[in-house]
């Protein structure tokens, strides 16, 4: 059993038992006219100062209390990352309530589940799309006192008495002394053990569970980042991931008050690349998929570039140390500037594994990418802080505020599972003590479910989920996720699912090709194609994928190599429940939908006739029929004679 101990932080910005509302008041008193939130509208960035933010938050809080929001209630928020969503959460906290955010693409059923499970009494919905989801939420609507919408477009003819326009909701806030006193009392009596947010786990396993995040937990985790990375006050932070994700709660909601930081919001998701360039944030937190997309974008632009430029780029990212300055001047600075990462001091990847190759590519571009590991329950556990950032590891344990609790203790159990203890700890699942007891033992150890090992220098290396480490019929084990991450590092692949278990003799892979990249690739070779189905089965595509798979096989030990693979005739889609909303694979769904193909792969067939149902955005159902080719690699077992 390996043990690893973290260290206490020495940054003076300790949470000191504060709640977020009290901290917000303190920051407003300290920094008054300085910018707190910046948002872009009509093509122009405008800022909300600390003073203005506090004023808006308190007005909103009085409006909520007037509407019937009580201490201990929950306010639900659904929509894109807008400054209002953050102000709503702070206001709910001022009123003694907590917030639960939903991803903007959550379905009506998911919204219904969260409303019911959290017992939310107020819902803030961004626009007509989100209001419609609420109206379809059936009996989950019962406990909700009102739905406040931010954008009234298309809602002109709705006459549901529950619906209130945000402007009117705020305007109805009582401003009398009694309301102000009640709010002051609510803020003064708040405790750091109060619930601040409910974060629903993504549900890769079973139905989502609401994780209880207290004020103490949020500020503890914000402090872990501040003290470990040395985050300076008023750092420019870019808020992109939904606050439905715990990590954004720690950064956008918690760290923004504790550090404090200036939080920037994109105009809308489509403008993120432009907005990123304009802000050039110093601190940003993306998922590995988003980093992969940025890396693919750069690669795609280079594919489009003239041969001379492409060669210059290739030389620059591999330039020897003594010529690095020249590469900087000619190429690298411009690329960083173009991607909006010129000032990025803390570009962080968190969520799941990022392939080492992509990680290295960012470093070669001069972007100091760092891995961050944590879970919604245990909070942030480890990261690349300090000078080194070894691509294959998740870094060292983060530093904990002495006022919050003991430094982090990590332990690797017999089956390879990582156990965590320390800091504010895990406050439990919402209304589910049985589930809490399963992952939190009597000694306070949180069982992460992640199989890890610790390197000689005391850094964590992720192997796979404990339940996902897989064994072939021969008894040899392999980490499917690691193989998938290697595969995804190729710009030609958008996603990959590795197959193989105790009933199978070899490892196989289902591959979701990247239509954007292949579109260009085929165009440059004068190959025509119509639909995605057609593209996915073209010889040129399969040959290219075979090369990419061979590259990955070369990186893997003999027992973990891919023997056969097939390219999927449709893109994996969250609307078809094949991915979670944060783009994690849902393996059981994929295994069921592509069962026929998987059987063909293992039966040694050369091709398979497949038909799969798809659900379109408007809810209508169609189906994809395709003949899918199955290819073998060098690692394939010699086919048995028929």
């Amino acid at each position: 059993m390996t043990e690893l101990r973290g260290s206490p932080g020495d940054d003076p910005r300790e949470p000191d038992g504060e709640t977020l509302p009290r901290l917000l008041r303190r920051r407003a008193a300290e920094h008054g006219g300085r910018d707190f939130l910046r948002a872009k509208r009509h093509g122009v960035w405008s800022a909300i100062s600390w003073h203005a933010a506090l004023e808006k938050v308190e007005t909103l809080a009085r409006a909520m209390m007037a509407r019937g929001l009580k201490r201990g209630d929950v306010v639900a928020v659904i929509g894109e990352n807008l400054p209002e969503a953050y102000l709503v959460q702070y206001a709910a906290l001022c009123a003694g309530a907590a917030a639960t955010h939903l991803y903007p693409d959550a379905s009506a059923a998911e919204l219904g589940f969260v409303l019911k499970d959290s017992g939310a009494t107020l819902l803030f919905a961004e626009d007509q799309e989100q209001v419609d989801k609420f109206l379809q939420a059936g009996d989950a609507k019962a406990g909700v006192l009102g739905v406040v919408y931010l954008d009234g477009r298309g809602l002109w003819h709705y006459d549901d008495p529950m619906l209130v326009d945000f402007g009117r909701f705020v305007a109805a806030a009582p401003a009398d002394a009694a309301a102000r006193t009640a709010l002051d009392a609510s803020i003064a009596t708040g405790s750091d053990a109060d619930l601040a947010a409910l974060c629903y786990t993504s549900g890769t396993t079973g139905s989502p569970k609401g994780v209880r995040l207290t004020h103490r937990h949020l500020l503890d985790n914000a402090y872990r980042l501040i003290a470990s990375f040395g985050i300076a006050p008023h750092i420019d932070y870019f808020s992109y991931i939904s606050p439905a994700w715990a990590a954004e709660q720690y950064t956008g909601i918690g760290l923004s008050l504790l550090a404090p930081a200036v939080v920037h919001f994109a105009e809308k998701p489509e403008t993120v690349p432009t907005d990123l360039r304009e802000i050039s944030p110093e601190f940003l937190l993306f998922t590995p998929r988003q980093w992969e997309m940025i890396a693919s974008q750069i690669e795609a632009q280079m594919l489009d570039a003239k041969p001379m430029r492409r060669r210059l780029y290739e030389w620059a990212i591999a330039a020897p140390a003594q010529l690095r300055w020249l590469a900087e001047v000619l190429v690298l600075r411009a690329i960083r500037d173009n991607t909006g990462l010129a000032r990025a001091r803390f570009p962080i990847s968190a969520g799941s594994g990022l392939s080492a190759e992509i990680f290295r590519r960012f470093h070669a571009l001069g972007i100091p990418l760092r891995n961050l590991y944590g879970s919604t329950e245990a909070g942030l556990v480890s990261a690349h802080w300090g000078a080194e950032a070894e691509p294959s590891t998740l870094g060292r344990p983060l530093r904990i505020a002495p006022s919050v609790g003991a430094p982090l203790e990590l332990r690797i159990a017999g089956d390879g599972e990582l156990l965590v203890r320390g800091g504010a700890g895990f406050a439990g699942y919402h209304g589910d003590d049985a589930a809490t007891a399963k992952v939190l033992d009597a000694d306070g150890w949180f069982h992460s479910g992640d199989a890890m090992h610790v390197t000689g220098s005391g850094e964590l290396v992720f192997l796979d989920r404990v339940k996902d480490m897989r064994r072939l019929a021969s008894g040899s084990t392999f980490p499917p996720q690691t193989i998938e991450n290697h595969l995804r590092a190729s710009p030609f692949l958008r996603d990959a699912i590795v197959l193989g278990d105790e009933s199978r003799d070899f490892i196989a892979a289902l591959i979701n090709v990247d239509a954007g990249i292949f579109g260009r690739y085929l165009e440059s070779r004068n190959i025509g194609w119509g639909t995605f189905v057609e593209l996915s089965q073209l010889d040129a595509v399969l040959e290219r994928i075979a090369v990419e798979v061979a590259k990955v096989n070369a990186m893997l030990p003999a027992g973990s190599r891919i023997a056969r693979f097939a390219t999927l005739p449709k893109e994996l889609d969250a609307d078809d429940a094949e991915l979670t909303r944060s783009r994690k694979l849902k393996r059981d769904v994929i295994a069921e939908r592509y069962g026929a193909l998987i059987e063909s792969i293992y039966a040694g067939d050369e091709s398979c006739k497949l038909s799969v149902n798809v659900i379109y955005q408007d809810g209508s159902v169609g189906s994809v029929h395709a003949g899918v080719h199955v290819l073998s690699t060098d690692a394939a077992p010699v086919p048995a004679p028929a």
Partner: protein, 273 residues
């Protein structure tokens, strides 16, 4: 969301507050090209907040009617009133300045200009400062420009073109260019919006999008819309009232359901005996 000063919500249209007034009305229009009678005694009107479609086979006189309304053709007889004024003898630019916006068949955007610049062009007829003031970038002209850029941006937001605001219109696909075209028509702050086959050549998705925007213009800004369109599904779906022309004469008029059931319309379209 005026209260927080970040996003504004369009105020809901005060529906049915007043009796619908006729914004644009044509009486007994006649138009002929030599021996061909393009319009024969056509009466037409559109009331506040209404969405009226004009349909009919090729050569029925739909475009002729639009051209009379917007002033490109001079009818040989009949009168046209717009916003309570007789505009029968008024030139097209003056009608535009009064708030009559029109888009044309095909693409009429400026290819080398960006989306925002194209939309700003629509504001041009409302700008008051002249060339010299503009060149000097002098107080009033600068203030005016700031105001109109903000208006153009409101339209960009309304039509969800934010990520394309600085993109050259020539680089956009057909559907998006038509959306920019609509944006430019909105920039004249129209009292009536006349759209001539806006959906020709679009795929189903683009049509659905544009129909949504037309409905939103009609709903949110309470702008009456006159639509000439060949796609019957769209017409029947979004119109309050439909008028059917054949050989320059009105053969039917009413709600989409009434028109659909009218034997004369069925005959005109399907050629039944």
């Amino acid at each position: 969301m005026q209260a927080l000063g970040i996003r504004t919500v369009p105020t809901p249209a005060a529906a049915g507050a007043t009796a619908p007034t006729r914004v644009l009305e044509a009486r007994d229009l006649h138009l002929s090209f030599g021996a061909i009678q393009a319009l024969v005694g056509v009466n037409f009107h559109v009331a506040a907040g209404e969405l009226v479609s004009i349909i009919g086979p090729n050569g029925a006189g739909k475009s002729s009617l639009l051209n009379c309304l917007s002033g490109f053709y001079k009818p040989s007889a009949g009168s046209i009133r717009f916003a309570g004024v007789d505009v029968s003898r008024m030139a097209p630019p003056r009608r535009a300045a009064m708030g009559m916006a029109r888009t044309f068949q095909g693409i009429q955007t400026y290819e080398s200009m960006t989306v925002r610049e194209n939309i700003l062009c629509g504001c041009h007829c409302r700008m008051r400062t002249g060339l010299v003031a503009g060149a000097l970038w002098w107080g009033p002209s600068r203030r005016e420009m700031v105001r109109f850029v903000d208006e153009a941006e409101t339209i960009i937001e309304f039509l969800e073109l934010e990520e394309l605001r600085h993109t050259r219109v020539g680089d956009l696909g057909y559907g998006l260019r038509k959306r920019v075209d609509l944006g430019r028509a909105l920039a004249i702050d129209p009292k009536v919006l006349i759209l001539d086959e806006p959906m020709a050549g679009m795929n189903a998705d683009e049509k659905a999008d544009l129909a949504r925007y037309i409905l939103d213009v009609n709903d949110a800004r309470d702008v009456p819309v006159v639509l000439v369109e060949h796609d019957m599904e769209v017409v029947m779906d979004i119109s309050d009232r439909v008028m059917v022309l054949e050989w320059g004469r009105t053969i039917a008029e009413g709600t989409p359901a009434e028109v659909r059931a009218d034997p004369k319309v069925i005959q005109a379209y399907l050629g039944q005996e």
